[in-house]
């Protein structure tokens, strides 16, 4: 392989030459490429704005009402306090609902849309034929999803305030935790979707045997301790469990050792970093075959 880079003096000699112009032309794309891609993705999202706003507003309203108010009457009547802790069921379940909503949105954004960009409507290849690089494409897509997750989590948080579900002063921090939770599962899923050549219903399986069981068995609607010990591993591997537990600490001061909170943060960040790097690598590989 002969990949000798152009010697510096030769570039200098090409001052004003086509090569020189090309080098100038590469400066901005190299520096801001990720942002350009994010800009496109947000523009695409804008065409779905109606649905996104409806989901963003409707989901917290319905879930908080149905579980935090409706179902809570049963739980609270029976236990006096919810979920085995000192707080009402609404306060117990609300942080879990925010994290779970973030996870659902991330699952949606990092599955079919990725497949779409690589296969059905290969816009990622178009970006790559322009000066964008694979890593930048992944960054841009990820930034745009983060923007959506932040907006969605803020709305969720506001509804939680409205329902009186946040007693503690650090409650707003669960917006951050929600985004981390969504991204932790999301970036891993993205790495998988980047690699996926053919849709044979894999995302369906991931939804049915991954996301839904995680949503149900991650200490969301009831603490993990209710499950038999041999099922606790579901919580330990589930980003949703780590996110939810952390949110509960922030929302109402749920009692857990500090080291465990550190584990939650570390685990979520680790998943995000690994998923992101993996996705970038695989994207470069797929685009530059």
């Amino acid at each position: 392989m002969t990949t000798t880079p152009l010697p510096e003096e030769r570039i200098a000699r090409l001052e004003g030459s086509p090569a020189d112009k090309a080098i100038q032309g590469g400066v901005k794309p190299r520096r801001y490429g990720s942002l350009y891609v994010a800009e496109t993705r947000l523009r695409v999202m804008r065409s779905y704005l109606q649905t996104m706003v409806a989901t963003g507003v409707g989901t917290p309203l319905i879930y908080l009402y149905a579980l935090g108010v409706g179902l809570a009457t049963l739980v609270d009547a029976n236990l006096g306090s919810g979920g085995g802790s000192q707080v009402s069921y609404l306060i117990f379940v609300a942080p879990a609902l925010l994290c779970s909503a973030a996870m659902t949105t991330a699952t949606e954004e990092f599955s079919y849309p990725i497949m779409l960009g690589f296969k059905w409507n290969p816009t990622f290849f178009a970006m790559n034929a322009a000066p964008m690089r694979g890593g930048q494409i992944i960054n841009g897509v990820t930034f745009a999803v983060i923007v959506r997750l932040v907006a969605q989590s803020i709305v969720y948080y506001l509804f939680m305030l409205l329902f009186g579900a946040i007693p503690g002063p650090y409650g707003w921090l669960i917006i951050v935790v929600g985004v981390l939770t969504g991204m932790a599962l999301g970036t891993m899923l993205m790495a998988y979707a980047v690699r996926l050549e053919e849709d044979k219903g894999q995302f369906n399986y991931i939804m049915r045997f991954g996301v839904i069981p995680l949503t149900l068995f991650s200490g969301t609607f009831f603490p993990l301790s209710v499950l038999p010990v041999w099922l606790h591993w579901i919580g330990w591997i589930s980003p949703l469990w780590h996110g939810t537990e952390l949110s509960r600490v922030l929302s109402y001061g749920y009692d857990e050792p500090v080291w465990l909170s550190i584990v939650h943060v570390t685990y979520l960040v680790l998943l995000i970093v690994v998923g992101w790097i993996l996705a970038r690598r695989l994207a470069v590989k797929r685009l530059n075959k």
Binding site: T4, A19, A22, G25, V44, N121, F125, A126, A129, L287
Partner: protein
Amino acid sequence: MISATNLTKKYKDFAAVDGISFEIAPGESFGFLGPNGAGKSTTMRMIGAVSTRTSGDLSVIGLDPNEYGPEIRSQLGVVPQEDNLDSELRVRDNLIVYGRYFGLPHSYLGPKADELLAFAQLTEKAKSRIDDLSGGMKRRLTIARALINNPRIMMLDEPTTGLDPQARHILWDRLFRLKEQGTTLVLTTHYMDEAEQLCDRLVVIDKGAIMAEGSPSALIRQYSTREVLELRFGSNRNADVATQLEGLAERIEVLPDRILAYSDNGDAAMQRVIELGLNPLTSLVRRSSLEDVFLRLTGRSLIE
């Protein structure tokens, strides 16, 4: 502008491009002609700095694509074989968004997009959905999109495949204008007429290797006769009759549905066929084309 020496691309053991060398001059219109799977697209992608070569040398605008991908791509306009317009965005937004990948400011992109829509005869469709465009319109939009950065080199991979004759002619006209403006065109095609229309020079490529190189007319002169006599005797008789035609033309090719007799004087050859008493069902004398060159070089038709 582009130069390749022993350019090779291997996927595991399979060599998609097997040591090809060529030079493309600025302002030239250069074609890769060959059947599907010949290695044309792979070569295009290596030039386009989106596929890493396995070995050999390649320089595009004086730069090595392995090192200067974004820089090279900032000077290219790429029209891929499969349309990859963003179907989630409207027609005009597709141009704007694409221009952003080159780091171009919105203030430039607005007027430029309108200018390109006019060039592509799509002004009225500015706000349409991509899915509502015809095949020809999509291709024109893809070309307009490729021009958003005033590229030095246009890379067109099978630009008119799948289009109806009228749409093809509109497209050729647009490409011809670009050529007149001094843009370097690099294109692949498996259509002879397209290569003859658009290419100053071309290489015939098959199984990853270059078979011949030259201008369309030079290639025809070198590898074929001036005229071809096409004879059909019905699918059962063609092979039998072929033996009787020996010596009547410079070269005889027997295809499943017809016989081609290569001769500088097709009418004279036809006269002799009639004198031999071989009544063909149909006969046709035509000028030699690149199709014949390809057949001669590879023993196969381009479109199978």
